[in-house]
Each structure stands twice: as C-alpha cells, then as structure tokens.
C-alpha cells in the first residue's frame, strides 16, 4: 500500500489538540519560572545578583517552553503515528520531504530569539561590568588551599574571613600566589579565576548582610575540595569598623615593615648601572616586572620604586630610599605573594647590590 501524494497533507485535529495542551504547559512553565523564589534557596548578596537571577528566569522560562514543545511533539507523534497492528507490513508514512514555509519560520524565529537573548544578556553583563570603580579596593589572593585578603591600611594579610560593609561599592582585585584558583561566592552569582602573574578584578556592591561561603571552582591541587570553608561576611558599617580595627592592631607588627637593620649599612658608591641592568635581567625578572607597582608577577613592579611617591611606602610612610632597597636586597622580605630570597640565597655580592640599587635608581 503506497501512500498517494495526491490528496493534500493537512494538520489533523489531534495535532491541534496536542498543540493546545502543550501551549498550556508552556505558559505554566513560564509562570513557574517567574514565580519561583530563587532568593529563598540562594540569597542575593549583591545588587547585580538580582539581575543575574532575572536573566536566569528569562532563559529558564523560554528554554522550558521550547523544551516542552519539542518533547511534547516528540511524545505525541510517537504515540499518535505508531505503526498499528492493523496496518499492512509495508505501510509507509506520508512522503513529505520538506516544507519551505515551515523551515523558513523555524530558522527566522530562533534567530530573532537569539538576538533578543543577546540584547538581554549584554545589558545585564554591562550592569555587572560597569559597577562604580571608586569603591573600597580589596585584594584576594589565592593560595594552595585558602584565600587571603589585603585591605588598605591593614598591614599584612587578613587570613580567615573577608568582611565588607553594606552598601559600599567594592573593587575586588584577584590574583594568586601559586596556581589558578576560582574565587566564587554563590550568593553573589559572580566568580573569577585568580591567575598567578595576572591581576583581574570584579566590582560589586554588597546589598544583604549575611555570611556567604567562598568556594574555589578551579582545580588547584589535592585539597581543592577543602577550599570551601572560608566565608564572606557582609555587615553594617559599625561592626565592619570594629572588625577592621581588630585586624589593624593584630597586624600592626606584621612582617610588612622592614626587618631590623641586619647586615649593617653597605657602601652604595660606585654602582655600575649597566652591570645592574644585566644582574636585574638574570636574577630579578622571574618575580618582578619593569612596570608600575600594580603589575605584579610574584613581587610588585619596580618602575619608579625610588622616585614615584605613590609607590607604596616600604618603610614608615616615606618613599623608599636606596638604603631601604639595599637592606631588602640583603636580608630578603616576606611579602603576601611569596618570600624574596636574601643576598646569599640570590648569590649577590655587596658590589652586585650597589649595582642593582644604581640601576633601580635610574628607573623613573
């Protein structure tokens, strides 16, 4: 029995019935996604978290509707058009190859939907990216198997929790001391990898007080799964200030200040800049860049270390002097990012130190 092509192929009643049911289901799904209380399961800790949730609701709603139609028709066609026992063994379906109009629409409509989705995503993405930049600057450093934080005016590092005041925009600079970690606070709906040798930043404005887990999402070693113990605490200004002072006292004597005047002042005369340049290339480029301070590799960038007043004060508030740099070269220094070897470990003679200081002096 061969299906003749003469009589036109039309959508039968059953098809429209199924379509009606599926449309109802799709509308129900859309309503469900817009009603679903996401923040009961995952609090919206920062302002943009709400936008990410709206994007998720939009995509989930349209995605569910699309999926209901596809899976629905799949099921309906499978049941309605199964080969019944009464059909002769060589029965065939209607031999339609394609339908220009239908194919046109199911190319154009998804393209339009993709354009709308792009516009919505880009708009929300801009809101995340264009958070104010003049807020509190905090630095989170990924180490193998915990995060440490650096606050302006707190020497050294805050090691246990990260505290943030409500409503104050924050610029969080992320970097790592050893391997790539992923700094993620689910309640913020935001994450970024902390890449060693690279400073990336995310900006947000805390909106809801609470204690939110910080989780590492990029495999970073054997105890990667233990890196979800730390917490981001968002609290009102008063308790934040109390916490802040506590850490200032605690770290007052931290290693950030200069070690005692160990090796005695060494003569810095007769430093040869060219030799210094050569030494710097061999010994220092592994951890320091010839670039402004914030271009961290392991140590900070050294451009203008002896001249640029904004270069962080290595000692008591005044720009570094050649003597300070010489003593650091001599006795090493433990910064947040790793320890700098002292002169003997670096194989630097006194003449070498003089050359290096002379060379650093020329960096404007």
């Amino acid at each position: 029995m061969v299906e003749n092509r003469a009589e036109p192929v039309r959508l039968d009643g059953g098809f429209w019935g199924a379509t009606a049911v599926l449309t109802l289901l799709a509308v129900a799904a859309i309503v469900f996604w817009y009603v679903f209380p996401i923040d009961r399961y995952l609090p919206e800790a920062i302002v943009t978290a709400r936008q990410v949730d709206t994007l998720f609701r939009f995509m989930a709603a349209t995605g569910s509707a699309l999926y209901i139609f596809v899976a629905g028709y799949l099921l309906y066609f499978s049941i309605a058009y199964r080969a019944k026992a009464s059909d002769p063994p060589d029965a065939v379906g209607v031999q339609v190859h394609d339908n220009r109009k239908l194919e046109f629409w199911w190319t154009v409509i998804p393209t339009l939907f993709v354009i709308i989705l792009s516009v919505v995503s880009v708009r929300i993405w801009y809101e995340i990216m264009l958070e104010p930049e003049n807020g509190l600057v905090v630095e989170a450093i990924g180490h193998q198997f915990d995060f440490t934080f650096r606050y302006p005016q707190i020497n050294g590092e805050v090691t246990d929790e990260m505290h943030l005041p409500l409503g104050v925009p924050v610029t969080l600079n992320l970097t790592a001391a050893d391997v790539i970690h992923g700094f993620w606070v689910p309640a913020m709906r935001l994450k970024n990898d902390t890449v060693p040798g690279l400073v990336t930043s995310i900006r947000f404005t805390p909106r809801l007080a609470g204690r939110y887990p910080i989780i590492c999402t990029q495999f970073c070693g054997v105890l990667h799964s233990q890196m979800d113990k730390q917490v981001l605490v968002i609290e009102d200004k008063a308790s934040y200030d109390r916490w802040f002072k506590g850490w200032q006292q605690k770290n007052a004597h931290a290693s950030n200040t200069l070690p005692a005047e160990g090796g005695g002042a060494i003569s810095l005369q007769g430093g040869d800049v060219a030799a210094g340049k050569q030494l710097f290339a061999q010994k220092c480029t592994a951890c320091h860049k010839l670039a402004p301070f914030d271009q961290k590799l392991v140590g900070p960038g050294l451009l203008g270390v002896l001249h640029d007043p904004s270069h962080p004060n290595l000692v008591d508030g005044k720009p570094a002097t050649p003597a300070d740099v010489a003593s650091i070269l001599q006795s090493g220094y433990t910064g947040s990012m790793g320890a700098m070897p002292n002169a003997s470990a670096n194989g630097l003679s006194e003449k070498d130190i003089a050359d290096l200081v002379a060379f650093l002096n020329t960096l404007k």
Partner: protein, 204 residues
Amino acid sequence: MSVAAIGADAHDGVDQLYVETRELRLQGFLLFLISDCVLFSSFIFAYLYLRNSGQGWPPPGIQRLDVAFAAWNSVVLFGSGATMHYALENFKHGNFMKYMWFLLATIVLGAGFLGGQAYEYNHLIFGEHVTWWGSGIFGASFFTLTGMHGLHVFFGVCYLSVLVLQSAAGVYTKGKFFGITAGTLYWHFVDVIWVVLFSIFYLI
C-alpha cells in the same frame, strides 16, 4: 577525469587505476600539509601571545638575533627551493641527468641550511648562554619553533636522499613519479614555513 588533466602523458604503464590512486594520494598529501601547517601556526600563536604578554622583546638580558647570518641562511634554503622546482621541471621534460644534478644541489643546500642553523644554535647556546629552558619565553618559543622546523628540514633531506637512490635505481618513470611531486611539495612547504618563521623572529 581525463588522463591528460593530471599533467602526465599516459604511457610507461600508466593505467586508470594509477591515475585515480595518484589523485587520491595527492589530495591526502595536501591535507597532511594543511594539518602540519596548523601545528606550526599553533606554536606561532603561542610565540606571539607570549611575546606581547611579556616585557618587551627581546626580553631583558638577551641580545637581538643576528639578522645578517639568518638572511644568508634563509637564502640558502630558498635557493634549495628553487633548485628543487627545477629538478621537478627537468624530470617532467625527461632530461634525467639535469634532474639528478638539481636534486643533489637541493640536498646540499638543505644540509647547508641545517649546518647554518646548527652554527647559530651553537653561537646562541654557548656564546650568549641563551638556552632552551634557561632564557624564559624567548628561549622557549625560539628554540621550539626553529627546532621543529629544523627537524622537518632534516626529514626532508633524508627523504630527498632516498629519492636520489630510488631515481638512480629507475623507480620513477615518465608517467609514474608521484614520489618526486610529493617531495617537491613537502620541500616547498618547509620553505614557506621558514619564510614565516624568518620574518616573525628576525624581522619584527
């Protein structure tokens, strides 16, 4: 697919089977060259990415490469490309002895290029202490890329030597000489890769 289309006149035992298999082998060989080209371009991407993420080029402490010697060495390799082209032309037009001389010239020039490369490596490693692992991203990208290209030239020289022995033994007749065509394609490919490497390492 008429026999003439492939540019070889049909005698010397050339039948339809050889014509078709030759066409397949040619396509396969060209696709192999494309995939090898992707291998090089991936490393070239790595070099350019590292070069622009680093601190200026050449990194502090490493002198700029000697362009004069490299220019001479490149001319040697491009010369071998020209002689290889003429080897194939001569074979196609039947003058066998000229083909053999040009083929030997290609091998000599190719080996000369390898010698020049070895000289430059020697000068860099022992003269200026620029080593593969010791000189940061410069050593990594320079030695990996030029070394890999050098390896390809070495394989090419070995293949061409085998080609000389085979041609002497009369393996290649007027209608059946795909081995030579493949050798010429490979050699030109190695030349073209060096044009790119020469310009990105020495000229920019």
